[in-house]
Amino acid sequence: MSIEIGRRAFLRGTSLGTASLALGSCATLQQCQQQIANRPTRRNIDTLAANDPILVAYRSAITQMQALPSSDPRNWTNQAQIHLNHCPHGNWLLLPWHRAYLFYFERICRKLSGMADFALPYWDWSQNQHVPSAFWPPSAGSLLDSNRAATSASTISTSLVGPGVLDPILNDPNFLTFASGSIAATDDQRAPAAAGPLEATPHNHVHGFVGGDMGAYMSPLDPIFWTHHAMLDRCWAEWNITRNHPNTNDSAWTNRKFTDFCDENGNPVEVSVIETVLYPIFSYQYDTPIPPLAPRGARVAEPTIVGNSKTQQDAVARVVQAGATLRIDSVANFAAAAPLQATLAAPARASVAVNRDLVQRALATDGQRVLLTLGGATINHTQDFYVRVFVNRATPATTATPDGDPSYMTSFSFFGHDHTGAGDGTGAFKLDATTVLRKVGLTSDRVQVDLVLVPFEGRTPQTQAFSARTIQLDVVKDVINQPT
């Protein structure tokens, strides 16, 4: 009896019926916690050898699904037809619908392959711009789709799917742009709104790049589909959980129900959107977070790592389920009159004319921030140096100025995006200047920004200078209504 109470109490504590799906048959509280802690891990397919048990199981499951009779809803073609007939695109149901679709597909694979902890691998196209080798002979087996337009030599540009594209998307705090546009509760789930940047750019481009089945709504016929959408799902988990951006709490979204899927036994299931937000906490996890390109200025919250204790999991689940209503209002923008270039030998200073009263009011107001944006910035310095930023120092910062100086704001570096960014060899860095400005204050109608380049030890820099075409201070107001 106490065992049952413990389990029920656990489920009640997490306030989710969906936890029972994730927990399966665990009997005790301890077993449930253990099961969550050991939940299956979705791994980068490029890290898996051809004979890795995950790929062996994936190939086996697909082969068996292809052999199932057409009367079985788990049949390979039937699974693809779920997508053909029901998939929402161009609205905010894209992410939860596909998350649920993958969730049940993964369970089918688990059952048919006999691998109890099977988890779908994902294709991280932000790092690998080729169709992964697992999908090509000689090892592909059932992972091959002969209809593909792409070949093993085809490359998709990083300007469409690279980290320079993905990182700004993941830093966008606005659910309505990140997750595609809203539709009403009474709208058909396929009603068009507007595809957000995640959908319109990497999602759509990858579908088209692979081509063939992947280029149409029968795309799940290509096993790549499931790894592509696992990556999309990883992006959402990263955005929501790791980077702390809240989903909407609009009931038109949270209460939407999907009835298009079947479970591992072929039985129809019903799942609501609010359940899907918990899957990455209780049902599976991703092997690695998506590394940010630079310190994030657009959000100040600390990243969240889901721990394995009940308290930690409950806390994250509550936040993720609660969502928020949010808005970022621009209050004012101030730009430096000239571009800026710093070299390893010579730090540089930009001077931005501002409305002092307005900025001081913002700094004194909760919910307002001052963001520093270095735009049109050179980014091909991954192996060479990082950049330290100082604000409103009485005298220009030098290479000897320590990080402990009150005017030290932050530093940023470059991450393998020599050919990404804005597509013209440049990128932008948005940094939060609020804390340092509150500390050092404004003594005039100008804000001084110093950049000091710091070379990496033991390397011979290939580049010597960092430049930014625009230096801008944005005063913004966060309107985030997150339930407590």
């Binding site: 809203s182 319109a200 579908h207 735009g375 049109g376």
Partner: protein, 159 residues
Amino acid sequence: MKRFARETSRWCALGLLAVLGLACSAGPKMRPSEATDVANTQPVLLSLGAPTAETVPASVSGTPQTLQLEVSRIDNPTRQAFSIAVSFMAAAPIMIGSVAPYPPDQPARLTLLVPPAAQAAIAATQPPRFRVSLQPVANDRPLVAPLQISVSLLALGPG
């Protein structure tokens, strides 16, 4: 535009509460009262013979954080993948980003984030002009005729 106005009205339905002295709490919305029609733009036609065109957004409001496009018609019988690249026409064009419809013959509304580096320059330009161009998606798959799309820039504004 009418459709867009309907959407924004729905998005900001809570804006009605402002009359009662309450703040709109429904996410970052385009406020119709702040939007201005800068031009009665017709969709531009892109094809392999004319893969590039310049146009202006039909609606501009507030901080230019997002740019919404509409691909209203696609003549692409072979369903080849293509990309639509968008650049802001400054003295030196600034790349905004690229979008694609999925499937590649499916009309759609598509949203791009405007890079922070471009926002100030765009805000200072009235009306802001953008170049849209057809591009292939894969390095080894050039676009082939027939391919013709109608694309328009619907709205430039806050997220």
